[in-house]
């Protein structure tokens, strides 16, 4: 049943979130540290294991893929609730501090990516 997939996803999501919350408390900050990341790793491991055991039914998988497919609409809706006016009207310093450090980080992407990819599919230069 499709609801099994939704439940599996929800279980991974909540467990990961709790780990993130716990990790935040452990290092003493008021933030969820990597909750989404832990959830994702859990989901990958659990579904791969189920797949391996041939226990992952198509219907169950559909319950997860449904949410995965809703991802882009959710992101569009998220863009529509950003404080765009606030960002633009806060003056030069906010705009510069938002753009310049980001640009520097963009330029670092190919340098670090090369590290992880010896075979280097990277053809273009920054």
């Amino acid at each position: 049943m499709m609801i099994y997939g939704v439940a599996l996803l929800a279980a991974c999501f909540l467990t990961g979130r709790m780990i993130g919350e716990w990790l935040g408390q452990l290092i003493g900050i008021e933030a969820n540290v990597g909750g989404v990341g832990f959830s994702m790793i859990l989901l990958i491991l659990v579904t791969q294991w189920l797949h391996h055991k041939d226990r992952l039914k198509l219907q169950t998988e559909t319950g997860i893929l449904f949410w995965s497919n809703l991802y882009i609409p959710v992101i569009v809706a998220m863009s529509a609730i950003q404080d765009v006016n606030g960002a633009i009207s806060s003056g030069m310093i906010a705009v510069l501090a938002g753009i310049i450090p980001t640009a520097v980080c963009f330029l670092l992407v190919p340098r670090l990516a090369q590290m992880s990819q010896r075979k280097a599919e990277i053809t273009s230069k920054p």
Partner: protein, 253 residues
Amino acid sequence: MRSVSDVLMEGGVLIAAMTTALILLSSTWISAYLTKGKIPGPAIAIFAGLVLAYAGGMVTGGNHGIADVSLFSGFAVLGGSLLRDFTVVATAMGARFAEMKKAGLAGLLSLGLGVLVSFAVGAMLAVMMGYDDVKSMTTIGAGACTFIVGPVTGSAIDASSEVIALSIAAGVVKSIIVTIATPWAARHIGLNNPQSAMVFGGLIGTTSGVTAGLAATDPKLVPYGAITATFYTGLGCLLCPSVFYVLLQWILG
């Protein structure tokens, strides 16, 4: 007798879903026919979302974009952090663990470097713009990381509320810029495989910007970018008000 708008309002999330579908439908059409597929549909849709947010802010003067217009209040749920995180996690279904392990060390390094570089450049900009006390520099530098790291840091070290507001704005500008610039920059920075997406997520860090930007570039890359980006804000909240703050105090001694 209840008015039509009362009935519509009850279905807040559904109205948001229908509106979003309409945006995606027209964006896909614009992408295919007006740009000949050069600009991906999701990129246009996300940009349209930002324009809608701007319009909402103009009309209401609020700071939740279109969600402040009562008919569209459902956007706050559909685009809220719960559904965002839930659907991001769901995208992991299409990701491969083996691909993630390949990025290993580079992924970790990108996280540390991402926070450090954003903070340092942000703090330097703060000085150049006249915010030369350590608390303001630290808070604005933290805001250059994400719009969560900024206020968390600012309130931890007791910075002024004006500076905290600035740091939030800087973080929001960052997430918007990343959203818009990623599909355009992707070709130039080799952002076309899982490993570079992970490095990208770690270096840039702002989850909303990274995931939206990657969705507009190539949806297959989303889970890889998200998995590193999700650690960024936590690391920033950890380093900025402690190590970086002390370091700045020591440098400016």
